[in-house]
């Protein structure tokens, strides 16, 4: 089996070949699906846990504290300990709650983020499904998550949960537009909806640079709208602790609460990786068209690390937002979307189309 860290497609295709030689195509595909599932599941758990840890550390440093530092070196195992604690907690049944929907809701939220993860290109060849409408698919499945949130709020039989869920619904319906339109701006530039093509098109420079002004505006709009879409601060009205106890997941305990919690961080990871893929070139190393020596040096870093690094930068910016800005009121939230982000976005799409038509991009 060949393993080349710079191009994992040979590795994945050699696995495929071995399986195809040894069993029928049906079993080969089944085994591949199970393998991919396990890989994504473990990736999910690790990333989820360590994002929680990273968030607590970042937040602590921004507030002049040290954050978790007792479990393991620098508190590295703190979130694992927290997870074990949550696993052992009692699942409290709620009186007069709609049992079926109440239990279903966390799974919808978590499955939505799982499905999105499948279409994200992690590195060259490390890509579960390469749809030709990849970015459209990712946007579609990430918005399924809000159904889970609405169900959670509705079925808990608790007014705080319901208010939180309704806020979250209003928020996602409006911000979905901005996310979509800012991605459309980049789709205009790349001319493709397929994520692998989009990444490949950034070989000579990331879209953030080649698309210059309109791409930069689209990136900023995307950052704001994506933060709102994931229900993170300063747009965390759906769970506004000080007003709604915990919003839509007030009534959840134990592992079901942990599902919501993990899904929130995974959604952040997913939007950050979309931002990295669409604007910052995904796993593509930093290339400047024409500088051969520079490009070759950059190629030494394996694509997977480029991808993780870019995603981490975007995640850090989102955390920075959360721990700097105060929470918006619901009317301010909607004003921001409908009076500012949406018009800016629409104008920006026109500018981008014009730039592409005139060939003014690099």
């Amino acid at each position: 089996m060949k393993f080349n860290i710079y191009d994992l497609s040979s590795f994945t295709s050699s696995i495929n070949q071995t399986l195809m030689e040894n069993c029928s195509p049906f079993w080969a595909v089944t085994i591949e699906m199970v393998l991919v599932g396990i890989a994504i599941l473990s990736f999910y758990a690790i990333v989820g846990l360590y994002l929680v840890y990273a968030e607590r550390k970042v937040c602590a440093f921004m507030q002049c504290r040290v954050g978790p530092n007792r479990v393991g070196p620098y508190g590295f195992f703190q979130t694992i300990a927290d997870l074990i604690k949550l696993l052992m907690k009692e699942l409290i049944p709620i009186k007069n709650a709609d049992k079926f929907l109440f239990n279903l809701a966390p799974f919808i939220v978590i499955i939505a983020s799982f499905m999105a993860l499948a279409a994200i290109p992690f590195a060259k060849g490390l890509h579960a499904i390469d749809f030709n409408i990849g970015i459209f698919y990712v946007m579609a499945v990430t918005s399924i998550g809000v159904i889970g949130i609405l169900l959670a709020g509705w079925s808990s039989n608790n007014k705080y949960s319901l208010i939180g869920a309704m806020r979250s619904g209003a928020q996602i319906v409006s911000y979905e537009l901005s996310v979509g339109l800012s991605l459309v701006t980049i789709v205009i530039l790349s001319g493709s909806l397929q994520l692998s093509t989009i990444v490949e098109a950034q070989r000579d420079g990331w879209f953030l640079f080649t698309g210059h002004i309109p791409a930069l505006i689209a990136f900023l709009v995307f950052l704001v709208a994506a933060t709102a879409e994931t229900n993170r601060g300063p747009f965390d009205l759906a769970e506004a602790e000080s007003e709604l106890t915990a919003g839509f997941h007030t009534e959840y305990s134990g592992i079901k609460f942990a599902f919501f919690f993990l899904a929130e961080y995974m959604n952040m990871f997913i939007v950050a990786s979309i931002a990295a893929t669409m604007f910052l070139g995904g796993w593509m190393p930093l290339h400047v068209g024409g500088w051969e020596a520079f490009n070759n040096i950059m190629d030494f870093v394996p694509p997977f690390f480029w991808y993780i690094g870019k995603t981490a930068v975007v995640i850090f910016i989102m955390m920075w937002f959360k721990w700097t800005f105060p929470r918006l009121r619901i009317d301010q939230l909607l004003t921001l979307e409908w009076k500012y982000l949406l018009p800016i976005n629409l104008v920006n799409i026109i500018i981008m189309s014009f730039v592409v038509l005139m060939g003014w991009h690099f």
Partner: protein, 160 residues
């Protein structure tokens, strides 16, 4: 036209203000020196409590085992939680006069809210706040303390 200019002005003004806020948090993020957290068990040897910290009520004694408490009971009356009990006894002075002296100044640390009232109202400044804070014990009875040391007596200078 004017409204468009105002609209753009508003956007840029907001972005500037938000960036300024992010600058502050970003500064703290890259300056770990600004961290104010006390890493308690590690810095136990060097930890210095701030001036107004109140740990427990104590009665200072000087080298002759003498204190200033006249057993007047004012602290007991002023304590809102009943954490102080004054047990006094009558002693005969060499001149043959009867005099009230302190037998036991009992202080219940477990009931004290560190309001400082006893210290403020003591007319002889016999008690003060100590800055100790490691008060955990395995038995609640240990939180009841007798502040005057055994065999101690009223300091000479305070005799009226």
């Amino acid at each position: 036209m004017r409204s468009i200019i105002n609209y753009l002005k508003e956007i840029f003004g907001t972005v500037r203000a938000l960036l300024k806020g992010m600058g502050v948090t970003g500064y703290y993020f890259v300056h770990p020196r600004e961290i104010v957290t006390q890493q308690y068990p590690e810095n136990r040897a060097t930890l210095k409590m701030f001036d107004r910290f109140k740990g427990e009520v104590v009665m200072p004694h000087d080298e002759n085992n003498e204190h200033h408490c006249t057993a007047c009971g004012i602290c007991e009356m002023n304590c809102p939680n009943g954490s102080i009990e004054i047990i006094s006894k009558i002693q005969l002075t060499p001149e043959g006069k009867k005099k009230k002296v302190i037998a036991k100044h009992i202080y219940h640390l477990g009931m004290c809210t560190f309001c400082n009232l006893c210290i403020k109202t003591c007319p002889s400044n016999a008690i003060i706040m100590e800055q100790t804070f490691e008060h955990a014990v395995f038995n609640r009875a240990k939180l009841t303390k007798v502040l005057n040391q055994p065999g101690s007596k009223l300091s000479k200078g305070d005799k009226k």
